[in-house]
Amino acid sequence: MAREQDYLSKCFSQYYAKWQPPISSVESREFGFGNWQTKIAFRHLSFPNASALCARLLRDAPPYVSYSAAYYEFPDARPMPSKNWKGADLIFDLDAPMHSCGKFTCQQCFDAIKNETIKLIEDFLVPDFGLSKKEMIVNFSGSRGYHVHVRSESVRGLRREERKEIIEYINASSVSVKALLHDDSAFISHEGRRVKVPKFYGPLSTDGGWRGKVARRFVQLLKEKRLQELGIGRKKAQELYERQAEAERTLCTRVKRMDGSACADWTKLGLEKGYGKMFEALVENTKVAISTDTDSNVTFDTSKLLRLPDSIHGGSGFAARLANDAGHTLFGAATPALEKFEPHVHAPVFSDEALKVKIVEPVPSLPLRDGGMSQAHAKEEILEVPQYLGIYLMCKGAALLA
């Protein structure tokens, strides 16, 4: 693998020859470089300005480059408290869960995690927290997901517990279904029998916070004919699709419960039973899938380093390209907004020149930069591929130089 690593280092160095860091306050950030064995082999690095950082990347071409969301007075000081923390951006790290596609992340996984990232921004960060997209940068992680960096002054001083509260709001770990749905069902006597009269009150689609969120999500799934994702049977779902306008009106009509609180009468949707399970599914469908694992979550542990946007990811040879509405350009080519970002198309930054490689493990059919698909390849095959694809396969450990 030494020959391949040399080749890759030369390619990465050429990439950094024309590169500029898309981050602010380089002099206040801590940096970390990785090698082929570990993503962060050295940290506590700092640079007085962007030029110094670029010069170092050109010289060393590390397979992995990370930086701190935090701003420090002395970013290269050790131990951590000596750096004198001055604040941090608010970071969200979304990764596609492991799937049968394994290390060759498939389009389905990429699409799913992109949708989660869009949901984070459009359903939470902007409408709930009042953050502006102009204060955010979004980049492909270089591997299986996206990073969202919120750089507004208002988030800089957030403490650990406050960042954790934000995550728990977004991933619904602090949401209680019992607080959203009220079962006011009662029993009455009818013809000598006890009959249950169901009565379920829930959020209005005009409510703020999670209440309104789940109600609006229900309306969205209703419009998109996806109610079966909530465990609603096909027949009942079809009835609701036919009564869509009436259902939407029900969820924005205020009724008062006995305690005086204003709700929507969800009983009128006619689901009869299973409201509790349906609401649990609705919360799952509405939340953003972000872990609260304290060992890995960069959102509330601001001492952690994360991939430097637009740097090369040594595990794929992809660049952690920016993808946002600001239309950041690199090498004269504009990167698309997140909705249109496709990792296999927009993340490879090397040429189409032919490169001869030998396949060392089976490779599935992969998306190409021009929108087409490559063929699948078996072990021992020797073939010519576009340089960017060859670099991808080498970084995945699936090919060697031939």
Binding site: P79, M80, P81, W85, P127, D128, F129, G130, L131, S154, V155, L158, R159, E162, E165, I166, E168, Y169, A172, S174, V175, S176, A179, D207, G208, G209, W210, R211, G212
Partner: protein
Amino acid sequence: MDAFYSHYPFLDGAKSLVGSLEGAYTQDEIMDKAQERLKMAVVEGEVRLMGAQLARMLELDLLSYAASRMVVAASKNKALCARVASAEAKRALHYLQHEDEGRLLFIAHEIGLGLQKGENGNFSLAFFDYLRFKPKEEGFKLSAKPIAGGVVAISRADADRFVQEAARMKMDVLLPVQDVKFTPEILAIAKEMAGLLPKTLMQVGNIAQGDFPPCICRIIEDMRNGEHIGHQARWALGVYLVRSGMKMEDILAIYASSPQYNEGTTKYQLEYLRQKEYSMPSCATMDAYGIAQQDCPCLVGGERRGTPITNSRRRTSISYEKSKTEKTDGAAAEKE
């Protein structure tokens, strides 16, 4: 004198009023009141409201607050500061609940809380203010509140709690007193108050605090009293608590009682201990450090045996005040 600053003595406007009362009362009168006020705060967790509204009573009440702040500063004891701040904030809540909206908003803005008048008798807070001043109870979780456009709508009752919490945070800061020479009287009251701090029991993984060996108990007690804790004691305490399975936030809470506490440094060092999986030093080593205590079951026939962890299984003869939630079934100690 208007009762306003007696009710909310933590407001900046109270300072000039205190200054104007200089010489109006004797030092003894003020310090007696301050001592009484502090004792209520530390022992009962609340400062009782004043019934009378006579000018003299209000003035002395205000001066006793100022004096109590000096006593807390002299103690350099963070746990004492936190306890008193919490008690004073509880007192303030009683008055806040009866204030008109205008006064509530004035008080909020004076202490840096951006509370705004909302609709239908409600109030609103900017999202980041909500996070910063949020009370710790479950009912204040962000997910339970109507938030839209970066603004959280809250009820009047919630608004009162936020102002209380903002007041508590304002008071939970030790005044900088490096160059101040305190009188022996102030220092004596400070020591007395620190000694009255409740010693609550916690469940530490599988080891209840009642099962802590004497050496560990002594380190924690010294820490709470603001005594200097040597590096070896601090390290041994960290290893003990980490190996006991205690949650990091609970361990930090113990260290936070030290006036020298620095969260970043402590957390970094504890994480390092946890990752390196250091073993607990033996009781013989603790003795060599000068940390072991005489009344410990590890001392058998003049020899120290075992480690603080293994000796946690045996109850010592030292009794501690029990919290209301103490479990008495005797949890098993962790195996080494």
